[in-house]
């Protein structure tokens, strides 16, 4: 009873509702794209991109640009496009290229924030960008609107392109032989990933973001064996873990990002056991 009263009290605050909305949207988008990324062996691209987004965030915050998204989004999208391009005619292997880009952005971002940062609590700033923070509770109506718009773009794009995403993921050379513009679809996928990364950073932080992308898809693949079932189950797991994780973190005052990611991990273990039974 007590728990529910506390919860009801929190839920009466608009900022809590905002946080829940954004959290659910982020989880939905990232888990939808997860299956494609896992099967295309691009799992760590989310990780790499979030580091790049962190670097862009550092530059934006030092330059005290209030609309920091105007910098973060283009930079991250550009990085995503470059990384996917690389994968095709790679002189440096894909994973190595991503790692180089990621650590450079991470190091550069931290350096910039340390040297040029005007705010007093630099390490607090860095920590919350990397691991997510209570900043999810300070979202404004505008932030919610922005992430809602981006989520609609990603989810809508995914649904409309579902059959093509399947073809490009399952057998890219066949799709290309059929005359499909696979390069264009890969580009669209890259842009969607970048958008998910940018929106997701505010929820779980740059370092934990790829968990939202990878875990739900991997869990779903333990028990489902059709692309459609995996996609739907993955979305349900992602949203469920995010929602539950946020509620737990409100009630038990645990860090939001870590709570969600650990729930995702527990979920994966449970699904692995279920998958082994049949």
């Amino acid at each position: 009873m007590n728990v529910f009263q506390t919860l009801a009290e929190y839920l009466s605050y608009p900022f809590v509702i905002y946080a829940l909305i954004v959290g659910v949207l982020v989880a939905l988008c990232s888990s939808l794209l997860g299956t494609t990324l896992v099967m295309k062996r691009l799992s760590f691209i989310g990780d790499g991109l979030s580091h790049v987004a962190f670097g862009a965030y550092a530059v934006a915050s030092v330059a005290s640009i209030t609309q920091d998204m105007l910098i973060i989004i283009p930079v991250t999208v550009l990085a995503a496009v470059l990384l996917l391009r690389r994968g095709q005619d790679a002189k440096v292997r894909g994973d190595a290229a991503i790692t180089m880009m990621a650590v450079t952005a991470l190091a550069g971002g931290y350096l910039i924030m340390n040297v040029f940062g005007s705010r007093s609590n630099v390490s607090g700033d860095v920590c919350s960008t990397l691991f997510g923070s209570t900043s999810i509770l300070t979202l404004t109506g505008n932030d919610v609107l922005l992430s809602a718009v981006m989520s609609v773009v990603v989810v809508g794009g995914f649904i409309l392109l579902y059959n093509r995403v399947f073809a490009v993921t399952f057998d890219e050379s066949y799709a290309r032989a059929c005359g499909m513009p696979t390069a264009r679809y890969n580009l669209v996928i890259a842009i969607m990933i970048a958008l998910v990364v940018v929106v997701g950073m505010s929820l779980v932080g740059a370092l934990l973001l790829s968990a939202l992308v990878v875990f739900p898809a991997l869990s779903a693949m333990r028990v489902c064996h059709t692309f459609r079932a995996v996609t739907i189950t993955s979305a349900a797991i992602g949203v469920g873990c995010a929602l539950l994780g946020m509620l737990i973190s409100i009630l038990a005052s645990t860090p939001v990002g870590s709570t969600i990611v650990l729930l995702d991990a527990i979920c994966f273990v449970i699904f692995s056991f279920i998958g082994k039974e049949d």
Partner: protein, 228 residues
């Protein structure tokens, strides 16, 4: 009228031609078996025919109103399809994509065509099975259904019987023969020459300079002549 005509075709990577002066044509109901040792350019030829890489010289002409979408392809076994979460139905259905145009979703007609294609290859009962749990022969049949879904007139097979047991290989060739009866033309790259030749009408031997293109009977006589 030929479905596919290659004239003075050179294939290779960058400025490295692997096979040059390839000349052949393929008409409805015919089957060309492409033979040659490793490194004579069999796979490169397949990739070039499929438009995955550009020819270094010469031309590839698709005629009779055959578009890229009507060119079916059976890739080599294995590859990265392991553990992919997809049902046989979903795999076959993806063959309809070239017919999708700008529509986002498949229509009833697309789904009916997929059922029909699976039926034709005798794999309708597999439709709900996970693709990665099928046997090699069953997978090849589902992939053949994917090509048929696109109403392919021309099917390119890359080492179609590698990894298949003799019975499954035989079933596949019998199936191809049936499809050719319906006007489909086939190009098969194979190192399992004896069985493939048995079912083919023509041979393209890439090991020769220039590559030899002839009927199976002529090729048999030629090989005998060389060996005796």
């Amino acid at each position: 009228m030929a479905y596919l005509t290659c004239t003075n075709l050179s294939v290779g990577y960058g400025s490295h031609p692997v096979a040059t002066n390839i000349n052949f044509s393929l008409s409805a109901g015919e089957m060309i078996c492409v033979v040659g040792e490793n490194g004579t350019g069999k796979s490169t030829l397949v990739k070039t025919l499929l438009g995955l890489q550009a020819p270094l010289a010469g031309t590839i002409e698709l005629s009779d109103g055959i578009g890229r979408g009507e060119l079916g392809y059976l890739p080599q076994q294995g590859g990265n399809k392991r553990d992919f979460p997809a049902s046989a139905w979903e795999v076959a259905l993806s063959g309809r994509l070239p017919r999708l145009g700008h529509r986002p979703f498949f229509s009833k007609a697309d789904k009916q065509a997929t059922d029909d294609a699976l039926e034709r290859v005798g794999a309708l009962d597999l439709k709900n099975r996970p693709f990665d749990e099928l046997s090699g022969g069953q997978r090849q049949r589902v992939l053949l259904a994917r090509a048929l879904c696109a109403e392919a007139k021309l099917i390119v097979l890359d080492e179609p019987t590698t990894g298949l047991d003799p019975t499954a290989a035989h079933t596949l060739y019998a199936l191809l023969e049936e499809l050719r009866g319906g006007g489909i033309a086939v190009i098969a790259v194979s190192h399992d020459v004896s069985e493939a030749l048995w079912h083919s009408t023509h041979v393209l031997a890439l090991g020769h300079t220039p590559p030899l293109f002839t009927t199976v009977n002529h090729y048999r006589a030629h090989v005998k002549g060389v060996h005796s």
